[in-house]
Protein backbone atom coordinates (compact mmCIF):
# COMPACT_ATOMS: atom_id res chain seq x y z
CA UNK A 1 0.00 0.00 0.00
CA UNK A 2 1.22 3.46 -0.81
CA UNK A 3 0.37 5.85 2.00
CA UNK A 4 0.35 9.58 1.37
CA UNK A 5 3.67 11.32 1.64
CA UNK A 6 4.25 13.60 4.63
CA UNK A 7 5.04 17.17 3.64
CA UNK A 8 7.46 19.00 5.85
CA UNK A 9 7.62 22.09 3.71
CA UNK A 10 4.39 22.70 1.88
CA UNK A 11 5.41 22.96 -1.80
CA UNK A 12 1.91 23.02 -3.23
CA UNK A 13 -0.62 25.79 -3.26
CA UNK A 14 -4.12 24.39 -2.99
CA UNK A 15 -6.85 25.70 -5.23
CA UNK A 16 -9.12 28.05 -3.43
CA UNK A 17 -11.79 28.61 -6.04
CA UNK A 18 -15.41 28.66 -4.89
CA UNK A 19 -15.63 25.06 -6.07
CA UNK A 20 -12.46 23.77 -4.52
CA UNK A 21 -12.31 24.98 -0.99
CA UNK A 22 -11.07 22.53 1.63
CA UNK A 23 -13.39 19.69 2.59
CA UNK A 24 -13.53 18.13 6.04
CA UNK A 25 -13.56 14.38 6.58
CA UNK A 26 -12.77 12.51 9.81
CA UNK A 27 -10.44 14.94 11.47
CA UNK A 28 -8.69 15.98 8.26
CA UNK A 29 -9.12 18.78 5.72
CA UNK A 30 -8.45 18.03 2.06
CA UNK A 31 -7.65 20.43 -0.74
CA UNK A 32 -7.10 19.90 -4.42
CA UNK A 33 -3.80 21.39 -5.59
CA UNK A 34 -1.98 21.82 -8.89
CA UNK A 35 1.79 21.73 -8.60
CA UNK A 36 3.80 24.40 -10.43
CA UNK A 37 0.67 26.22 -11.47
CA UNK A 38 0.30 29.88 -10.66
CA UNK A 39 -2.29 31.20 -13.06
CA UNK A 40 -5.19 32.95 -11.43
CA UNK A 41 -7.70 30.88 -13.40
CA UNK A 42 -8.06 27.25 -14.30
CA UNK A 43 -6.79 26.75 -17.85
CA UNK A 44 -6.26 23.14 -18.85
CA UNK A 45 -3.87 24.13 -21.64
CA UNK A 46 -1.45 25.58 -19.10
CA UNK A 47 -1.18 22.30 -17.21
CA UNK A 48 1.32 20.01 -18.83
CA UNK A 49 0.92 16.76 -16.95
CA UNK A 50 -1.78 15.04 -14.87
CA UNK A 51 0.84 14.38 -12.19
CA UNK A 52 0.61 18.09 -11.34
CA UNK A 53 -2.75 17.41 -9.68
CA UNK A 54 -2.43 16.46 -6.03
CA UNK A 55 -4.63 16.13 -2.99
CA UNK A 56 -3.17 17.91 0.03
CA UNK A 57 -4.42 17.00 3.47
CA UNK A 58 -4.12 18.76 6.80
CA UNK A 59 -4.62 16.72 9.96
CA UNK A 60 -6.41 18.85 12.56
CA UNK A 61 -4.91 16.86 15.46
CA UNK A 62 -1.25 16.74 14.47
CA UNK A 63 -1.45 19.89 12.32
CA UNK A 64 0.71 18.30 9.64
CA UNK A 65 0.30 18.12 5.88
CA UNK A 66 0.35 15.14 3.55
CA UNK A 67 -0.01 14.83 -0.19
CA UNK A 68 -1.75 12.16 -2.24
CA UNK A 69 -1.76 11.31 -5.88
CA UNK A 70 -4.98 11.38 -7.79
CA UNK A 71 -6.29 8.15 -9.36
CA UNK A 72 -3.85 6.60 -11.81
CA UNK A 73 -6.80 6.24 -14.18
CA UNK A 74 -6.82 10.00 -14.72
CA UNK A 75 -5.00 10.07 -18.03
CA UNK A 76 -5.60 13.52 -19.43
CA UNK A 77 -5.98 17.08 -18.17
CA UNK A 78 -9.69 17.76 -17.74
CA UNK A 79 -10.75 20.87 -19.65
CA UNK A 80 -13.27 21.77 -16.94
CA UNK A 81 -11.89 22.36 -13.47
CA UNK A 82 -11.96 19.04 -11.58
CA UNK A 83 -13.30 19.05 -8.02
CA UNK A 84 -12.99 17.08 -4.81
CA UNK A 85 -15.86 16.34 -2.45
CA UNK A 86 -16.99 14.06 0.32
CA UNK A 87 -19.68 11.61 -0.74
CA UNK A 88 -20.99 8.83 1.52
CA UNK A 89 -18.31 9.67 4.07
CA UNK A 90 -15.46 9.13 1.64
CA UNK A 91 -13.14 11.45 -0.23
CA UNK A 92 -14.08 11.70 -3.91
CA UNK A 93 -12.58 13.34 -6.97
CA UNK A 94 -14.63 14.18 -10.03
CA UNK A 95 -13.68 15.36 -13.50
CA UNK A 96 -14.71 15.70 -17.11
CA UNK A 97 -13.40 13.11 -19.53
CA UNK A 98 -12.92 14.08 -23.17
CA UNK A 99 -15.92 16.41 -23.01
CA UNK A 100 -18.18 13.41 -23.30
CA UNK A 101 -18.33 11.83 -19.85
CA UNK A 102 -18.35 12.75 -16.20
CA UNK A 103 -16.26 10.57 -13.88
CA UNK A 104 -16.24 10.28 -10.08
CA UNK A 105 -13.53 8.44 -8.16
CA UNK A 106 -13.73 7.42 -4.53
CA UNK A 107 -10.85 6.79 -2.13
CA UNK A 108 -12.11 3.54 -0.63
CA UNK A 109 -9.57 3.19 2.14
CA UNK A 110 -8.98 6.31 4.07
CA UNK A 111 -5.53 7.70 3.27
CA UNK A 112 -4.49 4.99 0.82
CA UNK A 113 -4.02 6.42 -2.63
CA UNK A 114 -3.98 2.97 -4.21
CA UNK A 115 -7.57 2.54 -3.17
CA UNK A 116 -9.03 5.09 -5.62
CA UNK A 117 -11.81 3.35 -7.46
CA UNK A 118 -14.23 4.55 -10.06
CA UNK A 119 -17.65 5.24 -8.61
CA UNK A 120 -19.46 6.79 -11.59
CA UNK A 121 -18.70 7.15 -15.25
CA UNK A 122 -21.66 8.61 -17.05
CA UNK A 123 -22.12 10.05 -20.49
CA UNK A 124 -23.33 13.67 -20.60
CA UNK A 125 -26.02 12.44 -22.97
CA UNK A 126 -27.40 10.22 -20.19
CA UNK A 127 -27.41 13.23 -17.87
CA UNK A 128 -29.53 15.08 -20.44
CA UNK A 129 -26.70 17.56 -21.05
CA UNK A 130 -26.31 18.19 -24.76
CA UNK A 131 -24.55 21.52 -25.23
CA UNK A 132 -21.41 22.08 -23.22
CA UNK A 133 -20.61 25.68 -22.24
CA UNK A 134 -17.95 27.39 -24.34
CA UNK A 135 -16.23 28.81 -21.28
CA UNK A 136 -14.28 26.02 -19.73
CA UNK A 137 -12.60 27.30 -16.57
CA UNK A 138 -15.24 26.41 -14.01
CA UNK A 139 -16.45 22.90 -13.28
CA UNK A 140 -19.35 21.72 -15.42
CA UNK A 141 -20.94 19.59 -12.73
CA UNK A 142 -20.56 19.50 -8.96
CA UNK A 143 -21.59 16.30 -7.19
CA UNK A 144 -23.74 17.35 -4.22
CA UNK A 145 -24.72 14.08 -2.61
CA UNK A 146 -25.00 10.38 -3.15
CA UNK A 147 -27.88 8.40 -1.67
CA UNK A 148 -30.07 5.27 -2.07
CA UNK A 149 -27.16 2.87 -1.53
CA UNK A 150 -24.95 4.97 -3.72
CA UNK A 151 -27.17 4.51 -6.77
CA UNK A 152 -28.52 8.03 -6.94
CA UNK A 153 -26.37 11.05 -7.43
CA UNK A 154 -27.40 14.67 -7.13
CA UNK A 155 -25.29 17.16 -9.08
CA UNK A 156 -25.37 20.89 -9.60
CA UNK A 157 -25.13 21.75 -13.28
CA UNK A 158 -23.51 25.00 -14.29
CA UNK A 159 -25.33 25.53 -17.55
CA UNK A 160 -28.78 26.62 -16.53
CA UNK A 161 -29.31 26.73 -12.77
CA UNK A 162 -30.36 23.15 -12.51
CA UNK A 163 -29.72 20.31 -10.17
CA UNK A 164 -29.47 16.96 -11.91
CA UNK A 165 -30.59 13.79 -10.15
CA UNK A 166 -29.24 10.67 -11.78
CA UNK A 167 -30.05 7.08 -10.88
CA UNK A 168 -27.32 4.74 -11.98
CA UNK A 169 -29.32 1.52 -11.64
CA UNK A 170 -32.22 2.69 -13.79
CA UNK A 171 -30.13 5.09 -15.89
CA UNK A 172 -32.77 7.76 -15.30
CA UNK A 173 -32.25 11.48 -15.01
CA UNK A 174 -34.41 14.17 -13.48
CA UNK A 175 -33.72 17.89 -13.41
CA UNK A 176 -34.77 20.30 -10.69
CA UNK A 177 -34.76 24.01 -11.29
CA UNK A 178 -32.90 25.96 -8.65
CA UNK A 179 -32.99 29.68 -8.15
CA UNK A 180 -29.80 31.66 -8.63
CA UNK A 181 -27.17 30.53 -6.21
CA UNK A 182 -27.00 27.01 -4.94
CA UNK A 183 -25.21 26.85 -1.64
CA UNK A 184 -24.56 23.32 -0.56
CA UNK A 185 -23.13 21.56 2.41
CA UNK A 186 -23.84 18.18 3.88
CA UNK A 187 -25.43 18.20 7.28
CA UNK A 188 -26.23 15.40 9.71
CA UNK A 189 -28.29 16.14 12.81
CA UNK A 190 -26.42 15.82 16.08
CA UNK A 191 -26.83 17.01 19.66
CA UNK A 192 -23.39 18.61 19.88
CA UNK A 193 -23.31 21.58 22.19
CA UNK A 194 -22.51 25.05 20.89
CA UNK A 195 -21.00 26.25 24.16
CA UNK A 196 -17.25 26.51 24.52
CA UNK A 197 -15.22 28.10 27.25
Amino acid sequence: MIVGEILTNFPLIPLSSPFNNGVYLRGTIYWLAIQNYFYPFYDHKSITHVDQFKIVSFDLSTETYMQFWLPFGLDEIPCFQPTRQVLLDRLCFSHDSKQTEFVIWQMKEFGFQESWSQLFRVDYFNLDIHNLPVRRGNPLLLPLCLYENGDTLMLAYRGDDQAVIYNKRENKVKKIRISGKLCRFSYVENLTSTCWN
Binding site: G22, V23, S61, G137, L142, N190, W196
Partner: protein, 170 residues
Protein backbone atom coordinates in the same frame (compact mmCIF):
# COMPACT_ATOMS: atom_id res chain seq x y z
CA UNK B 1 -22.03 13.93 22.95
CA UNK B 2 -20.69 11.83 20.11
CA UNK B 3 -23.84 10.05 18.92
CA UNK B 4 -24.58 10.75 15.28
CA UNK B 5 -28.11 10.48 14.00
CA UNK B 6 -28.45 9.97 10.29
CA UNK B 7 -30.81 12.18 8.35
CA UNK B 8 -32.40 10.55 5.30
CA UNK B 9 -31.85 12.51 2.12
CA UNK B 10 -35.57 12.17 1.30
CA UNK B 11 -36.30 14.29 4.36
CA UNK B 12 -33.77 16.85 3.25
CA UNK B 13 -35.43 17.06 -0.12
CA UNK B 14 -38.91 17.45 1.38
CA UNK B 15 -37.72 20.14 3.72
CA UNK B 16 -34.61 21.57 2.16
CA UNK B 17 -34.28 24.89 3.93
CA UNK B 18 -33.10 25.84 7.36
CA UNK B 19 -34.23 29.34 8.15
CA UNK B 20 -31.59 31.47 9.73
CA UNK B 21 -33.22 34.44 11.36
CA UNK B 22 -32.43 37.97 10.28
CA UNK B 23 -31.26 38.71 13.77
CA UNK B 24 -28.69 35.97 13.49
CA UNK B 25 -27.38 37.32 10.21
CA UNK B 26 -27.42 41.01 10.91
CA UNK B 27 -26.39 41.22 14.50
CA UNK B 28 -23.62 43.77 14.55
CA UNK B 29 -25.31 45.74 11.80
CA UNK B 30 -23.83 47.60 8.88
CA UNK B 31 -24.76 47.56 5.22
CA UNK B 32 -21.63 45.71 4.20
CA UNK B 33 -22.16 42.85 6.58
CA UNK B 34 -22.15 39.42 5.05
CA UNK B 35 -22.91 36.02 6.40
CA UNK B 36 -22.20 32.69 4.78
CA UNK B 37 -22.02 29.04 5.66
CA UNK B 38 -18.46 27.75 5.93
CA UNK B 39 -19.37 24.08 6.24
CA UNK B 40 -20.94 21.61 8.61
CA UNK B 41 -19.30 19.05 10.89
CA UNK B 42 -20.91 16.77 13.52
CA UNK B 43 -24.27 18.48 13.18
CA UNK B 44 -22.78 21.91 13.75
CA UNK B 45 -22.97 24.54 11.03
CA UNK B 46 -20.20 27.13 10.99
CA UNK B 47 -21.06 30.62 9.74
CA UNK B 48 -18.67 33.38 8.86
CA UNK B 49 -19.55 37.05 9.07
CA UNK B 50 -17.61 39.78 7.35
CA UNK B 51 -17.78 43.53 7.46
CA UNK B 52 -15.73 45.74 5.19
CA UNK B 53 -14.44 48.87 6.84
CA UNK B 54 -12.08 51.69 5.94
CA UNK B 55 -8.73 49.99 5.44
CA UNK B 56 -9.60 46.63 6.85
CA UNK B 57 -11.98 43.69 6.84
CA UNK B 58 -13.36 42.35 10.05
CA UNK B 59 -14.56 38.79 10.20
CA UNK B 60 -15.84 36.49 12.88
CA UNK B 61 -17.66 33.19 13.27
CA UNK B 62 -20.60 31.58 14.96
CA UNK B 63 -21.60 27.95 15.27
CA UNK B 64 -25.22 26.94 14.94
CA UNK B 65 -26.79 23.62 15.85
CA UNK B 66 -30.06 23.63 13.87
CA UNK B 67 -31.33 20.45 15.57
CA UNK B 68 -30.92 21.98 19.01
CA UNK B 69 -31.76 25.52 17.88
CA UNK B 70 -28.70 26.79 19.71
CA UNK B 71 -25.84 28.97 18.60
CA UNK B 72 -22.44 29.87 19.95
CA UNK B 73 -21.24 33.30 20.84
CA UNK B 74 -19.11 35.07 18.25
CA UNK B 75 -15.52 33.85 18.11
CA UNK B 76 -12.35 34.13 16.05
CA UNK B 77 -12.85 37.85 15.48
CA UNK B 78 -10.06 39.13 13.27
CA UNK B 79 -9.24 42.52 11.81
CA UNK B 80 -7.47 41.96 8.52
CA UNK B 81 -5.52 44.93 7.19
CA UNK B 82 -3.62 43.01 4.52
CA UNK B 83 -6.56 41.88 2.45
CA UNK B 84 -6.94 45.19 0.61
CA UNK B 85 -3.21 45.74 0.50
CA UNK B 86 -2.83 42.66 -1.65
CA UNK B 87 -5.99 43.38 -3.60
CA UNK B 88 -7.53 40.13 -2.42
CA UNK B 89 -11.18 39.49 -2.71
CA UNK B 90 -12.92 38.35 0.38
CA UNK B 91 -14.24 35.16 -1.12
CA UNK B 92 -15.51 32.65 1.34
CA UNK B 93 -18.23 30.20 2.13
CA UNK B 94 -19.40 27.03 0.49
CA UNK B 95 -19.63 26.28 -3.16
CA UNK B 96 -22.09 28.14 -5.27
CA UNK B 97 -23.01 28.22 -8.90
CA UNK B 98 -23.71 31.63 -10.29
CA UNK B 99 -24.95 31.81 -13.82
CA UNK B 100 -24.58 35.56 -14.33
CA UNK B 101 -21.80 36.37 -16.76
CA UNK B 102 -20.44 39.36 -14.88
CA UNK B 103 -19.65 37.20 -11.91
CA UNK B 104 -17.93 34.64 -14.07
CA UNK B 105 -14.40 35.96 -13.76
CA UNK B 106 -14.73 36.40 -10.06
CA UNK B 107 -15.93 32.83 -9.75
CA UNK B 108 -13.05 31.45 -11.75
CA UNK B 109 -10.33 32.79 -9.53
CA UNK B 110 -8.17 29.99 -8.17
CA UNK B 111 -5.81 31.94 -5.99
CA UNK B 112 -5.79 35.17 -4.09
CA UNK B 113 -8.69 34.59 -1.80
CA UNK B 114 -9.33 33.58 1.75
CA UNK B 115 -10.82 30.20 2.38
CA UNK B 116 -12.08 28.69 5.60
CA UNK B 117 -12.87 25.14 6.61
CA UNK B 118 -14.43 24.05 9.88
CA UNK B 119 -13.66 20.68 11.44
CA UNK B 120 -13.04 18.62 14.53
CA UNK B 121 -9.73 17.54 16.03
CA UNK B 122 -10.73 13.94 16.67
CA UNK B 123 -7.99 13.31 19.24
CA UNK B 124 -9.05 16.07 21.60
CA UNK B 125 -12.63 16.62 20.42
CA UNK B 126 -11.98 20.34 20.01
CA UNK B 127 -13.31 22.21 17.01
CA UNK B 128 -11.06 24.23 14.74
CA UNK B 129 -11.39 26.65 11.84
CA UNK B 130 -8.59 26.55 9.27
CA UNK B 131 -7.90 29.63 7.17
CA UNK B 132 -6.06 29.23 3.92
CA UNK B 133 -4.72 32.09 1.83
CA UNK B 134 -2.40 32.28 -1.15
CA UNK B 135 -0.88 35.65 -1.89
CA UNK B 136 1.61 36.95 -4.39
CA UNK B 137 3.99 39.15 -2.50
CA UNK B 138 5.94 41.35 -4.91
CA UNK B 139 7.76 43.47 -2.35
CA UNK B 140 9.48 40.74 -0.43
CA UNK B 141 9.63 37.81 -2.75
CA UNK B 142 9.73 39.02 -6.31
CA UNK B 143 6.51 37.47 -7.44
CA UNK B 144 6.65 34.35 -5.35
CA UNK B 145 3.36 32.90 -4.25
CA UNK B 146 3.13 32.44 -0.56
CA UNK B 147 0.57 30.29 1.05
CA UNK B 148 -0.40 30.61 4.64
CA UNK B 149 -2.42 28.41 6.93
CA UNK B 150 -3.82 29.71 10.18
CA UNK B 151 -5.71 27.62 12.69
CA UNK B 152 -8.27 28.88 15.16
CA UNK B 153 -9.03 26.51 18.00
CA UNK B 154 -12.38 27.09 19.63
CA UNK B 155 -10.95 25.88 22.94
CA UNK B 156 -8.81 29.01 23.29
CA UNK B 157 -10.32 31.29 20.61
CA UNK B 158 -6.85 32.09 19.30
CA UNK B 159 -5.46 32.21 15.74
CA UNK B 160 -2.11 30.49 15.21
CA UNK B 161 0.11 30.49 12.12
CA UNK B 162 0.97 26.95 11.14
CA UNK B 163 3.36 27.34 8.29
CA UNK B 164 4.64 29.70 5.70
CA UNK B 165 5.67 28.12 2.50
CA UNK B 166 6.71 29.59 -0.79
CA UNK B 167 7.28 28.34 -4.26
CA UNK B 168 9.08 29.83 -7.22
CA UNK B 169 6.58 30.86 -9.88
CA UNK B 170 9.13 31.60 -12.58
Amino acid sequence: MKTVQSLPVARLLQNPSITVSGDFCHRGGGLNDNCKVVNSCNGLVCFIFCSKNMGYHKYWFRILNPAMATRSKAFGTYHDYKLQLYGLKFSFGSEAFVSCDHEYNQQRSLLGSLKFTFGCDILTGSYKVVEFRAIQDDEDNNGLWRSQIRVLSLSDDCWRNINKFSFDSS
